[in-house]
């Protein structure tokens, strides 16, 4: 019974707060009236009914306070209180739209930027791989020791026979698979696509824990016997696109690289393989080139992923793989016969998800953007402090009327948290744009270009605002609300009633408004801004250094692309094909010259060990090493690589004539210091046969930084592709008169006219490729620079705010000074000095911190020391300038205060 009474009472109070309040008021009136009447009858001192009423009210005591206490105790009071606080917060924001807009915008900037970077950190570093039990997946690869000039590597691809050896002996993996990504030309009906696919064995889908949604997996026979089955699995996306999601797709055929394959399965929606962009899977042992041979023991093209057997730890598996690596090495020794021993290693797939440089760049950016948010918080806290001193009368009145301090703090915090969350919601727009921008960077592409093995499923295209990012934003909004709201709320409700009730705008406000804490906040802002500026300055200088590096070739006005060759063509017809292609392309209007190479700049390709024929063979392991480039004779000219001595390759260097070779300047200096290299003979070390048996040096050309800006030029040799016709993956180069991209269309059209069915792909300007190779550096510099600029701007606003506030507080004092003879210059220098003191304290603190933390920039730096004094001096100067400006504006206003007015006010 009574339980229901209690519930009814609570629910009614909650549902009808108006009626409840009215009834309470009526009850109190009734009480007061009766009390006054009683007092009158008893003649207790009161003379008039009015005074009796006052007396009754006094006797009644502080009802409000007790009511709030009572409410706080009742179970649903907090909900009601929250509703009140939110309504109150909204009202107070509506009353101060300017303040609200500035606070929300500042927070939106900070939180939005944080969410964007978080989405990248989440996608690239945190998010679990999109496969069942991803923690059990291991990446297995070969290792090679240091070989001459080649550094050791632990991410070497497998050959099929070597992995078969491992597979036969291991017992730590439940499933293993070999795969590699490859771009395919996919044709169905009249549609042709050039898109990413993967070659896989039959263990691929079971290892990843994926089943075809329709049809079946490859059989072991299809997957492992060479050219046994021309079958294909397709992705859900391709199924939708080419087959309109028709379930009768099984058994239909699709043309891949000119060969017919029968579709046997469709993968579930969203599965795009380990490369993260595959549309089609072919059995690893098929080849679209019938003439090609089965992959041999030294054909290292396969990547491997394995799923741990139950009860086996990653460490145990790694130990077993390392042991088996020695057996593989025994079965297939290093071909160079130098006693170099290969090995094998296994790492959790999750660890290989990103290049360490991406990880460190992202973490640096995450830290930086966190600092920006802290500065934003400090700024908003400052706004709140200023506003709190404007509201101190309101708050004092409420304390006097009996509002509890906890209740008031709670209410002020509700305001700030509401502001923080609003900022977060507004910031989502920025976060969305930022995440899209990051996703479009194709970081994984860059990674592959730099020789790392990347699993594209973790590539930047996976960056998006997912529920985690939204949750992160919400949490950030709440936390920032508390962070910037707590100090102002505690200060504002500090009980010192009488003086604040008087509200004379005098000195009391200086104490109450907490100018002390505002100064501390601004100094902290400046310090944080200095840290960010230092980081940004160093990284920007590094980028400048990198961009200033002469790569050795002319990337301007160059269009590059690849052409899909016809795989079944004989070697001599391939040369004919490229020969005609180069001729026709060179004749296009707007093209000044055309050429091609199998090993263009910024693409990792093979190097080889060299024998210098004019001296005894070098001891094994000490042979010189060189990058080998098969080119059309004109390629070095197309790229404006200067000829330093001798002659270029030309029409004379054809099949049947003695081999000619161009060597780079570094090669000439290393191999024949102080001698004329022309006429010397070089050969490939320790291989019988092959194209490079012996070649005459006919010329020396300039150095090229083939591995990109961060590495020095090495020894390179150039050979004419026409002397050893074979299939090379060529990249075509067109030098143009005007905008190179304007020729992309004509080049495509020209190829399509005489070689239909061989799509032109990977069309980009050389400048774009160079730019992409600087993507990390540029990304780091751009974002850090942006964050630092925002930080500096916020710190400037904060400085301006606190100085302007102090000027407003001291108007009367300034008036007195002017009246007593202070000049405008005296006044403004007094104000500016204040700003400079803040700047000096903040800047000094920031410098100390910066000196300690710039080491984390690591690989983002290039030829700039982490404590580069020039950069640090420059940013301190910049900071000084900004602080000076921020305090000069209020100083000028202070100087123009007319004495009379200031004294009167």
């Amino acid at each position: 019974m009574s339980f229901f009474d209690a519930m009814r009472f609570r629910v009614e109070a909650l549902l009808h707060p108006g009626r409840h309040a009215r009834e309470t008021a009526e009850e109190v009136d009734f009480h007061l009236d009766l009390d006054a009447m009683q007092a009158e009858q008893e003649g207790r001192g009161a003379v008039s009914p009015e005074e009796a009423g006052y007396a009754a009210r006094r006797r009644f005591g502080n009802a409000t306070y007790y009511r709030e206490e009572t409410r706080a105790m009742s179970g649903i009071g907090w909900l009601e209180r929250l509703g009140q606080d939110l309504r109150f917060a909204l009202r107070s924001f509506r009353r101060a739209p300017g303040f609200t807009a500035i606070a929300v915008a500042t927070l939106a900037l900070g939180i939005g930027a944080n969410t964007a970077i978080f989405s990248a950190v989440d996608a690239l570093l945190l998010r679990p791989l999109p496969f069942p039990r991803p923690g059990r997946l291991m990446s297995v690869s070969l290792t090679v020791p240091q070989r001459g000039n080649f550094p050791p590597r632990d991410n070497v691809n497998w050959s099929w026979p070597k992995f078969e050896t491992l597979r036969g002996m291991q017992h730590v993996f439940a499933q293993t698979t070999l795969w590699y990504p490859e771009p395919f030309t996919i044709r169905h009906g009249d549609q042709t696509l050039r898109d990413q696919g993967e070659y896989t064995d039959d263990g691929y889908f079971p290892t990843l824990g994926v089943r075809p949604a329709l049809g079946r997996n490859f059989t072991a026979e299809e997957a492992t016997r060479y050219n046994a089955g021309h079958v294909a699995l397709i992705s859900d996306a391709l199924w939708q696109r080419l087959y309109d999601a028709d379930r009768r797709v099984l058994g239909q055929s699709v043309t891949v690289n000119g060969q017919l394959y029968t579709i046997v399965g469709v993968l579930p929606p969203g599965f795009e393989g380990l490369s993260g962009q595959a549309l089609l899977w072919l059995p690893a042992m098929t080849s679209s080139n019938p003439r090609a041979e089965a992959p041999g023991p030294y054909d290292h093209r396969f990547l491997s992923v394995a799923r741990l057997a139950d009860g086996v730890s990653p460490e145990q598996a790694a130990a077993v793989v390392a042991t088996l690596g020695a057996r593989i090495d025994a079965a297939y020794p290093d071909q160079n016969g130098q006693g170099w021993h290969w090995g094998a290693t296994a790492k959790p797939l999750d660890q290989t998800r990103v290049d360490p440089r991406v990880r460190s760049t992202l973490l640096v950016l995450f830290g930086a953007v966190g600092l920006v948010l802290l500065i934003a918080c400090a700024n908003v806290a400052n706004l709140f402090l200023a506003r709190a001193s404007g509201r101190r009368r309101e708050i004092a009145v409420r304390i006097a009327l009996g509002a509890g301090r906890r209740r008031l703090v709670g209410q002020l915090l509700t305001e700030s948290v509401l502001l923080g969350v609003t900022g977060g919601v507004v910031g989502l727009g920025l976060a969305w744009a930022g995440a899209r921008g990051l996703a479009s960077l194709q970081l994984s592409t860059v990674l592959q270009g730099n020789g790392g093995v990347s699993v594209g499923v973790l590539g930047s295209q996976a960056i998006r605002l997912d529920p985690w990012a939204l949750l992160f934003t919400l949490a950030l909004g709440i936390v920032t609300g508390i962070v910037f709201g707590l100090v102002p709320a505690l200060q504002a409700t500090r009980p010192s009633l009488t003086e604040d009730l008087k509200d004379d705008g005098g000195p009391a406000s200086r104490r109450f408004g907490g100018l002390g804490s505002r100064n501390v906040l601004v100094a902290a802002e400046i310090a944080l801004a200095v840290v960010l500026l230092a980081g940004a300055g160093l990284v920007l200088r590094s980028l400048g250094r990198r961009m200033g590096v002469d790569l050795g070739f002319d990337a301007t006005r160059t269009l590059t692309f690849r052409v899909n060759r016809a795989p079944e063509w004989a070697p001599d017809s391939i040369t004919r094909f490229y020969d005609v292609a180069i001729q026709r392309l060179a004749e296009l209007p707007g093209v000044t010259s055309a050429g091609m190479t199998d090993c263009p700049p910024l693409v990792q390709c093979a190097g080889t060990l060299i024998n210098l024929m004019d001296r005894p063979a070098a001891a094994p392991g000490t042979e010189p090493q060189a990058g080998v480039h098969w080119v059309t004779p004109g390629w070095t000219q197309v790229e404006h690589i200067p000829l330093l001595r001798g002659r270029l390759l030309d029409e004379r260097d054809r099949v049947g004539t003695p081999m000619s070779v161009l060597i780079s300047e570094t090669a000439a200096r290393r191999w024949w210091p102080g001698q004329d290299p022309i006429g010397k003979i070089i050969g490939q070390a320790r291989t019988a046969g092959g194209g490079l048996d012996s070649a005459f040096v006919v010329g020396v050309v300039g150095d090229v930084r083939y591995q990109g800006v961060d590495s020095l030029p090495g020894a390179d040799v150039y050979l004419s592709y026409f002397q050893v016709p074979f299939y090379y993956r060529m990249m075509l180069f067109l030098r143009t008169r005007g905008d190179p991209l304007a020729l992309a269309g004509p080049a495509r059209a020209s190829m399509a006219r005489w070689a239909p069915g061989f799509p032109v792909y990977d069309v980009r300007t050389m400048e774009d490729r160079v730019g992409q190779s600087l993507a990390y550096s540029r990304l780091g510099a751009l974002l850090l620079g942006l964050f630092a600029a925002v930080a500096l701007g916020l710190a400037a606003i904060g400085t301006y705010g606190v100085i302007a506030y102090s000027v407003a507080q001291r108007t009367r004092e300034i008036g007195i000074r002017v009246a007593l003879g202070a000049s405008a210059g005296d006044v403004s220098s007094m104000v500016v000095r204040r700003g400079l003191v803040l700047g000096a304290i903040g800047g000094g603190a920031g410098l100390v911190v910066a000196l300690g933390v710039t080491r984390v920039l690591g690989s983002l730096l290039y030829e700039v020391a982490p404590r580069d004094p020039v950069t640090l001096a420059a940013i301190l100067a910049l900071l000084g300038l900004v602080v000076l400006l921020a305090s000069w504006i209020p100083a000028r206003r202070a100087a123009s205060v007319p004495a009379v007015e200031a004294l009167k006010s």
Binding site: H31, R58, N62, E69
Partner: protein, 116 residues
């Protein structure tokens, strides 16, 4: 500046928690409105126990929220309607418990005082 005393007249402050007890005891005789309850307590204690009246209504609200008291609007002798409070069955049980625990406490206090 030190806070001014809330009320100039001296009076015995109620022990914390005893207000509820007094209200329940008062209502156990008959339903009353708030003013009546305050008067009753003041009269019976000869003015020694003065309910700080501003805390009376929050206490009544608290008792309602716990289900020990219910209220109804009814006409009063003056003609104006007033809110009359009635003790519930659980309220009575609670009153019994509180009285016995208070008795025990008073007994204990007395013993301590006598021996001191």
């Amino acid at each position: 500046m030190p806070r001014a005393p809330r009320n100039a007249t001296t009076r015995t402050e109620l022990l914390r928690g005893t207000l509820d007890l007094l209200i329940l005891q008062t209502l156990s005789l008959r339903p009353l409105h708030g003013y009546g309850i305050a008067q009753h307590i003041a009269r019976l204690s000869d003015g020694t126990l003065s309910v700080e009246q501003g805390s009376l209504y929050p206490a009544l609200e608290r008792l309602q929220a716990r289900g020990w008291v219910t209220s109804k609007w009814e006409p009063s002798p003056t003609g104006r309607r007033a809110r009359y409070y009635t003790i519930t069955r659980t309220g009575r049980r609670q009153l019994g418990e509180e009285i016995s625990s208070l008795d025990a406490a008073l007994l204990a206090i007395n013993r301590v005082l006598e021996r001191a």
